[in-house]
């Protein structure tokens, strides 16, 4: 409860900065920095053997990693402890935009191309294992993603997260991983263990977007523990419209894949 009162006022910033310090931010940022290094290494290695890896994929990955890192470490992450709007902006980056960009970078395809054939086979076996089939199921991924958000903002988890470093780490990794799983379960850029029809994914994606929108308006009217009404209003609207902007891209890619998959076959054969 004492901590809660600090969330409300700007002078709380020092207290939180000191309690959390540098290490948790480093722990959160390190995997992303490593991910960028490994990706670049893989691109370099695969380009020597096969035709060159598309540059836009590397650019997507780099932007995704940078945006995720900005959300978990540095000035924005510091402000997020005391300012709900900054927190929400960080979450849009970490849970939606970074996963989308990183999914568009097709890391699994790159990895399969880079590994030697026996290793790639083994990786494919892992990809087809039941935990991955389960977690990349669009319904499971939607619950992990949107359900996790409801849990965070409608229970005391949000204020507890600011008191415990461990919870802080878990919540932030969860937000990113759930966002990534959700993205790859809806749009198929990388190989995925089990593919679902377009209509199924479209309905589930619309339902998940609705869950996100409803939560944004709920936050607007019912601030999470320790957040001022005014901040919750701005944060809720940012979540609503920011989410929309990123969702448009998801919907567009899903529809584009449908458009390509249903192209008239006979016409194609004659046309080419």
């Amino acid at each position: 409860m004492i901590m809660n009162s600090h969330i409300r006022y700007p002078h709380g910033i020092n207290i939180f900065y000191h309690t959390f310090g540098f290490i948790p931010q480093l722990l959160l940022a390190l995997p992303f920095v490593l991910a960028l290094l490994f990706y670049l290494l893989a691109v370099w290695s695969t380009n020597r053997r096969y035709k060159s890896w598309p540059i836009y994929r590397t650019v997507c990955w780099a932007f995704g990693v940078v945006l995720a890192t900005i959300a978990v470490a540095g000035p924005l992450a510091n402000r997020a402890h005391v300012d709900f709007t900054a927190h929400m902006f960080g979450h849009l980056l970490l849970g939606m935009l970074a996963p989308l960009l990183m999914a568009m970078a097709a890391p699994m395809t790159l990895l399969l191309r880079t590994l030697s054939v026996p290793f790639a086979r083994r990786l494919l076996k892992v990809l087809r294992s039941w935990p991955l089939i389960m977690f990349t199921h669009p319904i499971a991924a939607s619950f992990l993603n949107i359900g996790g958000l409801w849990l965070l903002y409608t229970t005391s988890l949000y204020s507890l997260m600011h008191e415990s470093v461990l919870l802080h780490l878990v919540v932030h990794f969860h937000v990113f991983l759930a966002g990534y799983l959700f993205t790859v379960s809806m749009i198929y850029i990388d190989p995925i263990p089990h593919r679902f029809p377009f209509l199924d994914r479209a309905i589930l994606l619309a339902a998940a977007i609705a869950g996100h929108g409803i939560l944004s308006k709920y936050i607007y009217a019912h601030p999470p523990n320790g957040v001022l009404l005014k901040e919750a209003e701005i944060g809720g609207m940012l979540m609503y419209y920011g989410g929309d902007a990123i969702d448009i891209v998801l919907i567009f890619i899903l529809c584009l894949h449908w458009f390509r998959a249903t192209r008239p076959r006979i016409g194609l054969a004659i046309g080419q």
């Binding site: 479209a202 994606l205 619309a206 339902a207 977007i209 609705a210 869950g211 996100h212 929108g213 409803i214 308006k217 709920y218 607007y220 009217a221 809720g236 609207m237 609503y240 929309d244 969702d247 448009i248 919907i251 567009f252 529809c255 584009l256 449908w258 458009f259 249903t262 192209r263 008239p264 006979i266 016409g267 004659i270 046309g271």
Partner: protein, 172 residues
């Protein structure tokens, strides 16, 4: 539209007949819902600021309905246009039917928004003024007009006629 891509003439005609007839309607209907929701958001929420983001009197079911329709309308706009593009590349586009679908979709959404969402679920009012009933009447009567015109466009060539371009192939 022409036959520049060399799509087989007879095949596209056969396919047009029933499957793409309803698909024209679906595409227009989806795009109509999306268009109405988009106009609602840009003009009435953002530009005029008549509509409010959240109204204290909103019921829980209103919040859910609003969220579902908001999400669905994004999908409907983009999906409807992709289906439009698909019809076009198959030479199966039937514009009159499509526009009929647009008007029915837009009118249907506006009527639902104006009666159930605004009045029953009280998500927000059209404008926060004394005589809001005038706004409500204009809003809903316009919606009904759109639905009527839409249905008359859809029904006017109901008996198995095909898009003009596709018919043209028969005579070539």
């Amino acid at each position: 539209m022409d036959t520049k891509n060399g799509y087989p003439k007879n095949n596209s005609n056969n396919m047009n007949s029933s499957k793409y007839k309803s698909r024209n309607l679906v595409s227009g209907f989806l795009f109509g819902i999306g268009l109405a929701a988009f106009i609602d958001e840009t003009i009435f929420h953002q530009l005029l600021r008549w509509h409010h983001f959240y109204d204290k009197s909103t019921t829980d079911i209103g919040l859910i309905s609003d969220g579902l329709f908001h999400a669905f309308s994004w999908f409907a706009t983009i999906g409807g246009l992709f289906i439009f593009a698909d019809l076009r590349r198959r030479n199966a586009l039937w514009l009159r039917r499509w526009w009929g679908g647009v008007l029915v979709g837009a009118g249907g959404f506006q009527l639902y928004d104006g009666t159930i969402q605004h009045k029953l679920m009280r998500i927000h009012q059209i404008r926060y003024v004394e005589n809001v009933i005038v706004y409500d009447l204009i809003w809903n009567i316009l919606a009904i007009f759109m639905i009527i015109i839409g249905f008359s466009l859809v029904g006017s060539r109901r008996n198995g006629q095909q898009p003009g371009k596709a018919i043209a192939h028969d005579h070539e």
